[in-house]
Symmetry: C2
Subunit: 416 residues, 2 copies
């Protein structure tokens, strides 16, 4: 059968008497074969990174991922590259440093493996949205230029907004809580900004946050249950719809039925058996790793919920446990050694919220538009935020979140 | 049948001997009836804006939108409001000024009509994504903190990025073009920022841009065809899935088969018959309105594509027409009197792009990471951006884009 395909020539491999011409299309590498026998042009007329329309005869081929190869008859050149890439982008891996990989991101992402990473990331988002749609969540668009930070602290980008000081949002927290009063269940997948000066493998200064918030919960356990179900469905969605990318990346996509839960204190206790605890109020990155290893050994699960973080370490909107106000109705989700989610039940009662803010010597007045939601009635609610790039990185077993970020922003990087 | 429903009490209407208690859930108003006959509590125990779980007997009722009413037997209070709202939010309309509507957005959006607007906006996004998924577009996440503006000019927000000057993105333009070299077809629905000082009914300083970019186009006409199909499918999707919101808002959702096209010059010519032309290079808002009126009269279509805008008025990446380099292979889409989309074919050839930038005395070096895409080969491509809030506003026949923006940002407004 004669077939016409548009694509970019990924690789030309000359053999004796013929050549393999690999064509890259939206999500596939297609094996074409050039031979003087049936190709009506000379091989030197085409080159790698040329955009073409090729015509040829389709032949079934079991060894090919696509199930066929194309015997090239003719081609039309649509666009020619002016230069050869400064790094080799059509081998199995882009064999270079992370720095170079990122410096040349506009072309290193053309590598089949590199592009599969971001195809999977797009798949993760599709999976999230499918779950949200199926479960009555409404998408919201909250502003990124804000008058006050959700998390507070110094790690916030400032900008001049027509002569007034404004900030880049650290989280859609206030807005999603407000919107629970309107739609009961809401979600947003959008950029957030953290001016952290850390230069680590876990931090980037702009990332994509998957946030949801839901009303009428009975406890924060409802949120963990929802997240468990959500992740289970997403991983299933990926297995079903991204099999070739998963195979190419040799990705180990876990299956989830239930996720173990440990309290913060129990987690610290488990860790203390092999490592000295230096900060009793929060986890250090090494401790998160260690805890995940312990849980993996005990339960064979790659995920673990840590619950009841200390009140002093959680933001002012976090609900405290009734029987012990020193701890909160909150949780983190750790995945393969790293925190990917923070969530919890929020304070919905106006007076309780005001009291806690005053306790923390906060300027209540500055939050008056946020507090409108509480003042005029808000159902019990809670939610969580998940870092898309961290989740992708851990899912694909990368040791640096930048590998799973299209165009990372960090303290040293603002380009490309 | 006994039924239990969670929701927020929207309105209590006392009649003689009984009361209507309207409950607001995710997307519905549910009519409940209180009567001393069968309700096992006193009416004064409940109030508007209380979050409750009600239990009652479901009775079929044709007059109700939901098809039933609930005879209240008992209720459980989950959360009580501390104050009564300062504006009436449970009448048919929130009868107040735009300023007040926006100042109290966290609660005015609880009004059934107001929340229907943003339910429809969420539906528009679902429609967009369905179209993109069905047509082989991959979602991307491009950075919002950038090293250089896509559109240039003074209407760009600056921020201090760890001692370096950075900007908030005006458009994902560069990134979506780069990503065409990787995924062939890409889309993004994300915030963009314009530091325009205009205080008009058409402008906000942060808006949600729906962007797509596609490779292997034959001409910019492919883009208009794709947009036509996309909009037709979205409007159909809304009619099918948002019927109750459409009815509540009395929205006139048009049906599209084809969208008329006029060139910029012909458009000006048509306008000149009733209005003096003062700017021959661009449209004024009044001219866009007038042109839409003329087209509506002639073709009964609410949309019109205007093509071949002047080269001098389009950005440096816009492709010029072969037979007349004074004009471009570009278009705007006007809808009910306002521009909602700008799109066009881009220059894909490296040398042609460099030449045009030098012609404009641009600092080519500053764009080197963007130009990597061209340098190492990029297929012919083009795309467009559509303003989500403008589209929503026009679809619902609002005279100000702020009515269709959850939390608008403008020169005077940074809150809520």
């Amino acid at each position: 059968m004669i077939k016409t395909i548009k694509g970019i020539i990924y690789k030309i491999r000359e053999m004796s008497g013929f050549a393999f011409v690999i064509l890259k299309t939206k999500r596939e590498l297609i094996q074409c074969v050039y031979s003087e026998e049936y190709s009506q042009f000379t091989l030197s007329e085409i080159c790698e990174n040329m955009s073409v329309i090729v015509t040829g005869e389709e032949l079934a081929d079991e060894r090919s991922r696509t199930g066929f190869e194309l015997r090239l008859v003719s081609f039309e050149c649509l666009s020619k590259p002016e230069y050869e890439p400064p790094v080799v982008i059509n081998n199995k891996e882009v064999a270079t440093s992370l720095e170079t990989l990122l410096d040349y991101r506009p072309i290193t992402m053309r590598n089949a493996k590199e592009s599969a990473i971001f195809q999977i990331q797009a798949g993760i988002c599709r999976g999230f949205r499918k779950f949200f749609d199926d479960n009555g969540f409404t998408e919201i668009h909250s502003p990124k230029i804000v008058f006050s930070g959700a998390e507070g602290g110094s790690n916030i980008f400032k900008l001049d907004y027509f002569g007034r000081e404004a900030y880049l949002t650290q989280s859609p927290q206030f807005y999603k809580q407000i919107m629970v009063g309107i739609f009961e269940r809401v979600y947003e997948i959008a950029p957030v900004f953290r001016a952290e000066k850390h230069d680590t493998s876990r931090h980037i200064n702009e990332y994509t946050s998957v946030d949801f918030e839901m009303g009428f919960i009975e406890s924060f356990r409802d949120l963990m249950q929802t997240e468990t179900r959500m992740l289970a469905e997403i991983l299933e969605f990926l297995r079903k719809n991204y099999a070739s990318e998963i195979a190419l990346l040799k990705a180990d996509i876990p299956t989830i039925t239930e996720i173990p839960k440990v309290t913060f204190d129990d987690g610290k206790e488990m860790i203390s058996k092999t490592r000295e605890i230096t900060d009793p109020y929060d986890f250090e990155p090494e401790e998160e790793k260690l805890l995940c290893e312990i849980i993996k050994k005990e339960t064979d699960c790659d995920f673990v919920f840590v619950t009841h973080y200390k009140s002093s370490k959680r933001p002012f909107y976090t609900m405290e446990s009734k029987d012990n106000p020193e701890v909160t109705e909150s949780f983190d989700l750790l995945f393969r050694g790293m925190e990917i989610t923070t969530g919890g039940q929020r304070i919905h009662d106006y007076n309780a919220q005001i009291a806690k803010m005053e306790d923390r010597s906060m300027n209540v007045e500055a939050f008056s538009s946020y507090l409108m939601a509480h003042k005029y009635g808000l159902p019990p609610h809670g939610g969580l935020g998940l870092g898309l790039e961290r989740f992708t990185a851990k899912l694909l077993n990368f040791n640096n979140v930048r590998y799973a970020t299209m165009f990372p922003r960090d303290i040293n990087r603002l380009e490309p």
